[in-house]
Subunit: 369 residues, 3 copies
Amino acid sequence: MRQIDRRKHALKTTLGEIASAVGGEIVGNRDLVITGINSLNDAGPSEISFFSNRRYQESLGKTCAGALMISHKTPLFKGPQVIVPNAELAYAKVAALLAPPVSRESGISQGAVIHQESVIGKGVTIYPMVFVGHGAEIGDETTLFPGVFVGEDVKIGKKCLIYPNVVIMNGCIIGNDVIIHPGSVIGGDGFGFVRDRAESVKIPQTGIVQIDDQVEIGSNNCIDRAALGKTWIKRGTKTDNLVHIAHNVVIGEDTIIVAQTGISGSCHIGREVVIAGQVGIIDHVEVGDRAMIGPQSGIAKAIPAGEVVSGSPAIPHRLWLKASALTSRLPEFNQRLRQWEKRIEVVERHPLYPSTSSPSEKAAEPRKE
Amino acid sequence: MRQIDRRKHALKTTLGEIASAVGGEIVGNRDLVITGINSLNDAGPSEISFFSNRRYQESLGKTCAGALMISHKTPLFKGPQVIVPNAELAYAKVAALLAPPVSRESGISQGAVIHQESVIGKGVTIYPMVFVGHGAEIGDETTLFPGVFVGEDVKIGKKCLIYPNVVIMNGCIIGNDVIIHPGSVIGGDGFGFVRDRAESVKIPQTGIVQIDDQVEIGSNNCIDRAALGKTWIKRGTKTDNLVHIAHNVVIGEDTIIVAQTGISGSCHIGREVVIAGQVGIIDHVEVGDRAMIGPQSGIAKAIPAGEVVSGSPAIPHRLWLKASALTSRLPEFNQRLRQWEKRIEVVERHPLYPSTSSPSEKAAEPRKE
Amino acid sequence: MRQIDRRKHALKTTLGEIASAVGGEIVGNRDLVITGINSLNDAGPSEISFFSNRRYQESLGKTCAGALMISHKTPLFKGPQVIVPNAELAYAKVAALLAPPVSRESGISQGAVIHQESVIGKGVTIYPMVFVGHGAEIGDETTLFPGVFVGEDVKIGKKCLIYPNVVIMNGCIIGNDVIIHPGSVIGGDGFGFVRDRAESVKIPQTGIVQIDDQVEIGSNNCIDRAALGKTWIKRGTKTDNLVHIAHNVVIGEDTIIVAQTGISGSCHIGREVVIAGQVGIIDHVEVGDRAMIGPQSGIAKAIPAGEVVSGSPAIPHRLWLKASALTSRLPEFNQRLRQWEKRIEVVERHPLYPSTSSPSEKAAEPRKE
């Protein structure tokens, strides 16, 4: 392998160039030289910072940043400002502009094991300790970091970053510009067994996983191959760490799945859905486009498009906010119920009342259940 | 390593042979040639399909499948049918019959690092980038895929499939016909610390993990070695992805553990138990044979044999169904309680009633708690 | 690599030496030879055992152990006893005394790929199939097991154990005496995206992870690099398996994080905190020193120092114990509410009462909500 220039290149730009990259308007010196981007607390005079979260309002007056991106001009910051519609988006774009490219060597290592009947594109980087199986195809400019396993007949597109110790099992298909973080497993067997008396008989998992362009998979994910057909992650979807996606799941475009969520077999998740962390979704459920699911929710039935739900089992989010706040008041409710029972009994036992005894007897029963 | 014939062998069979393999009865042409098995939606005229889930009833009339396995003859499908007691089990068996064997090379790679004081059985496949430590034993016809780590004194039985990047730490024992999916860690240290003032003092984890015959472990599992003695997964148990099994846990035969479940130290789980996804079980708990635990449940005390529980903390499943449905009605309950309080007060304040004031005063208290 | 003596050394000590190591007082023969430590059920006559959990009281009378460590002299055990303030801590110390050192070879394997511009300390062990990148530094007596990836500019301190298939990405800093169990990923990208209409625009994650001295990380953890600055795990903190720690999280000294817990971005966790298994903490939350969080809790707001909380959303633990026990009684509450509604109506409809009708009408409304 050849060592390419991997050190941070000393990148310089001006505020004017930054403003035009993010479509912003400058208030102040457009020729200011900018060498980096940093948080309000940590930025120095040659760095630009950004304000997008009120949580950090008091840092605005104290920051040493040389310039600021913000959605409305602020009197709290004395230096030049770039007024942008979305300061967080501007931050993402400027950080990408200033960040060095992902550091990597170039060329194909002699220490990799690459099957002679595989197809390796132009500008591919393959580190040592990589295994590429029979019939695999690696697209142009893709990088396979050390410890990556590429099974037989796997197809990987162009400009992908497959980080260390990722496993892509036989037959799976990965699109272009896909990033897979370390330790993730693509195409392990789906969890399919049929009980034959006590014994669990394995259902062969003969399908694949297909991951489309611009998908990013977090670290130590498990995305299982389909029993038949394919498990399918569509364009632009992003998963966080330790996510489980079972066999035959289909996930639409631009969906966000936060850490430690599990999606059971044959679920269909729509596009632009947001699934928070530690959510569980049982099998064969449909989640509509742009639905939002709160953290730790348990989804046991279809969620219509655009719905916002929380809780386990999940209910509309606004109802959940009220209901979950009341859970802690159950001991109080219990006490109030007992006291009012006594108060009703006092009323009922009053000599003026005849024969209200029968409902009173009934009231003693429910505890039996 | 020698490259063995790894391409899908063009397998052909007849409906008659399939029927006798699954113990089914044919309605129609027993000489029909079958080349594969597929879902109702995707099967073609030379493929057999199956019907086991009412969810897919409407596909029955539309399928292009050449033949069908079903538990009762249906008029909706016009082609030959194989009547079987359990169509899903028949599917598993026929798929196994028609699936090519797991594709793998044969022989011992020069690119593996195998300690000279280890014992390698007959017909073993060891891929490059595998490490086999001092004193390890690998049984006949077992396959170690790239990136597998086999620690010192590990014993692995016959016909096992140890998938890429699996780690089996020193001294652990794996039975015959065991499958371990990629990235799983067998025999990492149990999480044992004793507080000595603020400091956490490590308790050496000197035990092992023992995994018995026909166990299948999903991807990225963590099964910890015992502090003393062994963590023990018995014959036929299957785990899904991202499962955590702590030190000194014992799991009985033929148990099913769905994805992202965590079982704390020293739990004893019975045989044929079904534990759904994202369940958490605290330490030292006993779960009886054939118990069933619903998704996301939290188990804090023993579950008797055969019980079906759900919820966190878990309660009998039928009670949980009712109770969890009512959680969303807590805001309504709260409102009703307030209104009835007023109604009782109206009654109590009625001039006909003397001295019901004392319970009324009491009723003002509980909010303080 | 040279093979060092890796077999269990036949270690022998006496009860007297054990007592002085743990600061205990001997009742019985101080010259008794001890060759190991084991549980009450499994210990033999040359082994010492310990009693720290009432759960195992009945084993006290039956054990074959040669000696016992216990906090108060017991008549149930006939052999010599070592009286110690904390029997579990004594067990940890004696087990460490008797345990062989972690078995490992010595030297630098020719089968590792180590960049020539890296710095390797004295007494370092590097197994085959390890990758060490440009600019990395490995401290004295640290061991890198097979399959470990050490990225560019990573600094690892002294006497660390980095177990198989651990991935440490570029620029991360690991202290001294750190243990990282197999499959963990340190420094994967944080999960940072900004929505630009439907599209998720990646925020470059240019920070690092810093792990301080004496930290122990379980198997298959994911600890993400900061967006800017660092994700920081301070001295003495221990994590169990499958833990997720997001970008820019700071965790104080001597904190304990049990398996499958997830901590979202920018959380600040104090020192000596105990976080049980499967807990989820949303982003930007502060958890105070010595707080304790029960299993499966969901933390959505700050937890003051020393607080003990449980539940999702979390509430004070004692309140949660009461409230969660009452959840299962919701069906009963519902029934009681309905019955008392009837009883109040009976009272209200009594001919002696005039005009209580208006609250009664109101009472019919809430169900509409």
